[in-house]
Amino acid sequence: MPMAMAMPVTTDCGSGSRWSMVSLKSALPPLASSIKLPCRRRTPPPRTRSPQLVRSFSALSPVNPLHSLGFSDMSSFGQNFTIIDNGCRFFAMRHGRRVPKLNRPPDQRRALLRGLTTQLLKHGRIKTTRARASAVRKYVDKMITLAKDGSLHKRRQALGFIYEKQIVHALFAEVPDRYGKRNGGYTRIIRTLPRRGDNAPMAYIELV
């Protein structure tokens, strides 16, 4: 964008003369295409809004003293466009998002949950933090449901999730007797006293 970089170097006369619409539009990257904000289940951004915003910015630019001074670089100006103009709705709140993140990146999160389900199926009752206990319920129920089905494909799926294969084979052997009649809800969480070191709320999670 050579035009964009060359413009702010000149003197600080009236800003309206420098920022002509044609040069701006040609200098900027195509709008609303490459920037992706993390928004799931939102509609794609409406394209019609972008020209209006460009017009509003050109009207505002004389007011902004930074622009008249010539110190504003094009990159920040461009960034303002992308954040506001993208149209993709980006909320600051967590409304309705139900995946527990457990303060970990996705790979560690998956490993933690795999380890917790393995230990729970091995020992029958474990003591952990409440958030982790609440998050691991889903995976334990899934493993028990796989074991209830019992086919080879399900067994291999379970082997891909649980870390120890002895536990998978033991699970597939005993689940029909133990949970044959129960429909779901194979775990129970009992809240208990907080941990001494960091006062983290703890809970026992056990197989029903």
Partner: protein, 175 residues
């Protein structure tokens, strides 16, 4: 208190070991200075000796009580093949006194959970009269049934119960 029955239901005590009952008496269990509340954690080393069990009530009343301590999660909570493991039976405890005043039928054995977190349940039954020689207790501690014991000795439903958790302490002491 109905609240304590709820914790017993949630903890699975009522269902696995005992039947639903309404608490009629109260008793306190203490290991060293620590009072046992439902679901609290007691280390096996702290519970190696008998606890102080005191039945609250009027010392002059003639009610006698039986105390039974079992572990329903032997050898492991995920596979309780030896449910329940008997730890202690004391009969003829007079009301208002502690368990040393009763007759110990089965000697106290402390919790030694080999794997997993085990529940240890202390159940109190009210006796109709003094237990003479009618009580027959099996020699093995494994596969005990509290319900069967209560039915055989006409004890009925328990009048109070409390349980605590215990797990094997690691060899390296965790701070």
């Amino acid at each position: 208190m109905p609240r304590s029955v709820e914790t017993l239901v949630v903890g699975g005590v009522i269902g696995d070991v005992l039947d639903m009952f309404t608490p009629a008496s109260e008793f306190t269990v203490q290991y060293g200075g620590k009072q046992v509340t439902n679901g609290c954690d007691i280390k096996p080393s702290a519970a190696a000796d008998k606890p102080h069990v005191k039945i609250l009530g009027h010392p002059l009343s003639s009610n006698l009580y039986t105390l039974v301590m079992v572990d329903p999660d032997a050898p492991s909570p995920s596979e309780p093949r030896l449910r329940e493991w008997l730890h202690w039976i004391v009969v003829d405890i007079p009301e208002g006194h502690d368990a040393t005043k009763g007759r110990e039928l089965v000697a106290y054995m402390g919790p030694q959970p080999p794997t997993g977190i085990h529940r240890y349940i202390l159940a109190l039954f009210k006796q109709e009269g003094a237990m003479e020689g009618r009580v027959q207790v099996a020699d093995v501690r494994a596969n005990f049934s509290t319900r069967r014991f209560a039915a055989q000795n006409r004890l009925g439903l328990p009048v109070a119960a409390v349980y605590f958790n215990s797990q094997k302490e690691s060899a390296v002491r965790k701070r």
